[in-house]
C-alpha cells in the first residue's frame, strides 16, 4: 500500500515535471495537471494511510482516519481545476492570437532592437 502510493506520487511527479519542461503549451498544461494529481495523492498520504476507517466520530469505533487532509485535498482539487481552466483559456487566446503555441519568449525580440540604439548613440 505504502509502496503503491509512494510510487504513484513519484511517477506522476516525474512525468509531470518532464512535460512541464517542454516548450509547447499542450504538454506543459498536461504536465501541470499531472503535478496537481500527484500533489493531491501526496496530501492524502500526509494524514497517514488508513483503510476502511471512518473520518467522523462514531460509537464503538477505535480507529479513525484523519479528516483534515481530505478537506485539504478537496480545496486543492477545486482550486487546481479552476486554475487549469484559466490557463487553458489564456493559452488558447495566446495561440489563436499569434498562431504559435510556444511558452517561451520569441527569440527574434533581441536582434532588431540593437541596431537603432547604436545609430542614435
Amino acid at each position: 500500500m505504502e509502496f503503491l502510493v509512494a510510487s504513484a506520487v513519484g511517477v506522476l511527479t516525474a512525468t509531470g515535471l518532464y512535460l512541464v519542461l517542454r516548450l509547447r503549451t499542450f504538454p506543459v498544461i498536461m504536465g501541470m495537471s499531472l503535478l496537481t494529481y500527484a500533489v493531491n495523492v501526496f496530501l492524502f498520504a500526509s494524514g497517514r494511510l488508513t483503510i476502511g476507517a471512518p473520518p467522523i466520530l462514531q460509537n464503538g469505533v477505535e480507529t479513525y482516519t484523519d479528516p483534515l487532509p481530505q478537506a485539504l485535498v478537496l480545496t486543492a482539487i477545486v482550486i487546481s481545476f479552476g486554475m487549469t481552466a484559466v490557463i487553458v483559456m489564456i493559452a488558447l487566446g495566446a495561440y489563436l492570437g499569434s498562431d504559435d503555441d510556444h511558452v517561451d519568449d520569441p527569440a527574434e525580440d533581441d536582434t532588431p532592437q540593437a541596431q537603432p540604439q547604436e545609430d542614435q548613440a
Binding site: 512541464v20 503549451t25 506543459v28 501541470m32 503535478l35 496537481t36 500533489v39 501526496f42 496530501l43 498520504a45 500526509s46 494524514g47 497517514r48 466520530l57 460509537n59 464503538g60 469505533v61 484523519d66 483534515l68 487532509p69 485539504l72 480545496t75 486543492a76 482550486i79 487546481s80 479552476g82 486554475m83 484559466v86 490557463i87 489564456i90 493559452a91 487566446g93 495566446a94 492570437g97 499569434s98 511558452v103 517561451d104 519568449d105 532592437q113 540593437a114 537603432p116 540604439q117 542614435q120
Partner: protein, 535 residues
C-alpha cells in the same frame, strides 16, 4: 470580539460581485464604488494599524471555533502595517487607472481589482498556513485576469508564462504543506511553533525538507533569483496600473518569509537553524546584482522598472536573511519604501508610454506633459536607486548598518554599494535618453499631437511620491515603529498564547462543561472520545 479585522477581506469580497452584477455596464458607478471601497479600506486599515500599534494582538476566530481547529485571522503590528500599505498603494493606483482610462480598455477591471485586494489582505491577515495558500490562490487568480486586462498577443503570451510559473509555485506550496502536516499534524502557525520545537534532533529530515520547500515557494513569490524568471516579462507586459499594484505582490512573499521564519522556524530553532543564512543570503545577493545589472541592460523602460523591482527585492532579502531584530526592522522600512517607489515607477513608465510609440530606450520626439513626467521620474529614480535625500538612501543605510558586525559584512557591503552604482548608471541613462535627448529630435510633420495625460494620473503619481517624501521625513519615527514590530516578531510568545489560548465555542473552560461539549460534537452521548484531541 470585534469584527473590524475581517473587514479588509469581506469588504472587497462584497464590492467585487456588486460591481459585476449591478454595475456591469456603468463605468461611472463602478469607479465610484471602487474608489469609495478604496477609501474605506484605507480608513479600516489605518484603524487596525492604530489598534495594533501599542502591541495588541487581535485575534478573530471565524464562527468562533478555537485556534488549531478553526480558521483564525491575526492582526499584529506586521500584518496591519502590510494591510495599511496595500490599502494606500491600491487607492493611488486605482486613481491612476481611472485617470488614465485603463479601466475602460477591457471589462471587469474594478471587480478583479477588488478580488485582488481581498486576496492580498487575506494573505497578510491569516494565521494559518493553508489559508495562506488559499488567499495566495485568490490573489493569483485575480491577478491572472488583471495581467491580461485589455488583451493583446504579447500580453497574453506573457500571461501564459506568468500563470504557468505561479501554478508550479502553488503545486510546490501544496507539497510543502503536505510535508509539514505529515511531520507535525497541524497547519496553524502558532500551533506549528510549538510542534516544531518538539521534533527531536534525530528525525529532522522531513521538517527540514518542508521548511526548504516553503522557503522556495515564498522565494518564487518574492522573485528571488534564480526563481525570478516570471517577473520581468509579466510585469513589463501587464497594464501600467496593474504592474504598480503587483509591486505589493512580491512583498507578500517577503512577508510570508518573515512571518513563517520568525514564528514557526525561528532562527534559534536548532532543527532548521542553518538554512536561512546558507540559502537565503547568497540568493539575495545574486538577485540584488542580477536586478540592478538588468536595470543597466534593459532596452525598454518597463523592463528596466521590472528589473529594479527584482533588485529591490534582493535588497529586502539581504536584510531578511540576516534574521536579527535590527535587520528585520530595516527590511520592513525598505519594504514600504520599495513598494511605493516601484508602484510610482510603473505608473510613470505608463505615463511615458502615453505619448510614445513604445518604451524603448532611444530618443523619440518630446510629448505633451513630458516636463512633469520627467520630474516625477527623476524623483522616483532617486528613491529607487537609493541616493540621498529620499527614503531609498535611508533604507539602504539601515540595511548596511544592520549588516555591520555580522560575518558576511564584507560581501553585503561590497555588493550593495557596487550595484547601487550600476543601478544609478542604468537609471541615469534611461532618464537622459528618454527625457533629455527627446528635445534633439524633430517631431515629424504628419504626427498627431497626443494630449497630455489626465490630471488625476499625476495626482496618483504625486501622491505616491509624496508618501515617499513623508517616509523619508519621518524616517526616525517610522523606524522606531518598525523596530517595535520586529521586536514583536522576535518575541512570539504573546502571539502564540493569544492564538492558542483564546477559547472558542468547543473549548472546555471547566471540567463539568466537557460532557456538554462532547455531546454537541458527536451528536449522541456518553461513550467516546475527546473531540478536541489531536488527529
Amino acid at each position: 470580539m470585534s469584527h473590524w479585522i475581517i473587514l479588509p477581506i469581506v469588504l472587497p469580497a462584497f464590492l467585487a460581485p456588486f460591481i459585476v452584477l449591478a454595475a456591469r455596464y456603468h463605468i461611472g458607478i463602478q469607479r465610484a464604488v471602487s474608489v469609495a471601497g478604496g477609501l474605506a479600506l484605507v480608513a479600516i486599515a489605518a484603524g487596525l494599524a492604530w489598534q495594533a500599534s501599542d502591541g495588541t494582538i487581535t485575534l478573530y476566530q471565524l464562527s468562533d471555533w478555537a485556534a488549531p481547529f478553526g480558521i483564525v485571522l491575526v492582526g499584529d503590528r506586521l500584518s496591519t502595517l502590510m494591510v495599511l500599505l496595500t490599502a494606500v498603494l491600491s487607492l493611488f493606483v486605482l486613481l491612476y487607472a481611472i485617470g488614465s482610462g485603463w479601466d475602460e480598455r477591457g471589462r471587469h477591471f474594478h471587480a478583479l481589482y477588488q478580488f485582488q485586494l481581498m486576496g492580498i489582505m487575506g494573505a497578510f491577515l491569516t494565521g494559518d498556513l493553508f489559508n495562506l495558500f488559499v488567499f495566495f490562490e485568490v490573489l493569483l487568480i485575480a491577478s491572472y485576469g488583471l495581467m491580461i486586462h485589455a488583451g493583446g498577443n504579447v500580453r497574453l503570451r506573457a500571461g501564459v508564462q506568468y500563470v504557468l510559473f505561479n501554478l508550479l509555485g502553488s503545486t510546490l506550496f501544496l507539497f510543502a504543506l503536505g510535508s509539514i502536516y505529515a511531520e507535525t499534524g497541524t497547519l496553524n502557525m502558532a500551533d506549528l511553533a510549538g510542534r516544531a520545537q518538539m521534533i527531536g534532533a534525530d528525525a529532522t529530515a522531513g521538517i527540514r525538507i518542508a521548511a526548504v520547500l516553503l522557503l522556495l515557494v515564498f522565494a518564487i513569490k518574492a522573485a528571488v533569483v534564480p526563481l525570478h524568471f516570471w517577473l520581468p516579462s509579466s510585469y513589463a507586459e501587464a497594464p501600467g496600473p496593474v504592474a504598480a499594484l503587483f509591486a505589493i505582490m512580491t512583498k507578500v512573499g517577503a512577508y510570508a518569509i518573515i512571518r513563517v521564519f520568525t514564528i514557526v522556524f525561528p532562527p534559534d530553532l536548532s532543527v532548521t537553524a542553518d538554512l536561512h543564512g546558507a540559502l537565503l543570503l547568497p540568493a539575495a545577493l545574486v538577485s540584488l546584482t542580477i536586478g540592478m545589472v538588468g536595470v543597466l541592460a534593459a532596452r525598454k523602460l518597463d523592463r528596466l522598472v521590472a528589473f529594479s523591482v527584482i533588485g529591490s527585492m534582493g535588497m529586502v532579502m539581504v536584510a531578511i536573511s540576516l534574521f536579527t531584530q535590527v535587520a528585520i526592522a530595516a527590511a520592513l522600512y525598505y519594504i514600504v519604501h520599495s513598494t511605493l517607489a516601484a508602484g510610482a515607477l510603473f505608473l510613470i513608465a505608463d505615463l511615458v508610454r502615453a505619448g510614445r510609440a513604445d518604451l524603448e530606450l532611444r530618443a523619440q520626439p518630446p510629448v505633451a506633459g513630458a516636463a512633469l513626467t520627467a520630474a516625477a521620474f527623476f524623483v522616483a529614480a532617486i528613491a529607487m536607486v537609493g541616493l540621498p535625500p529620499l527614503s531609498g538612501f535611508v533604507g539602504k543605510l539601515l540595511i548596511l548598518d544592520a549588516a555591520y558586525g555580522t560575518e558576511h559584512v564584507i560581501w553585503i557591503w561590497a555588493v550593495v554599494l557596487s550595484v547601487s552604482l550600476v543601478s544609478l548608471v542604468g537609471f541615469s541613462r534611461a532618464g537622459s535618453v528618454i527625457f533629455w535627448k527627446a528635445e534633439s529630435i524633430e517631431r515629424p510633420e504628419e504626427a498627431e499631437v497626443t494630449p497630455r495625460p489626465a490630471g488625476l494620473s499625476y495626482v496618483a503619481v504625486g501622491g505616491l511620491l509624496g508618501l515617499l517624501a513623508l517616509h523619508t521625513v519621518f524616517a526616525g519615527k517610522i523606524y522606531d515603529y518598525m523596530d517595535r514590530t520586529s521586536a514583536q516578531l522576535f518575541a512570539p510568545a504573546p502571539y502564540i498564547a493569544k492564538v492558542i489560548g483564546t477559547p472558542g465555542k468547543m473549548t472546555r473552560p471547566k471540567p463539568e462543561k466537557a460532557e456538554g461539549a462532547d455531546k454537541a460534537l458527536t451528536g449522541d452521548g456518553e461513550t467516546d472520545a475527546q473531540p478536541t484531541e489531536e488527529h
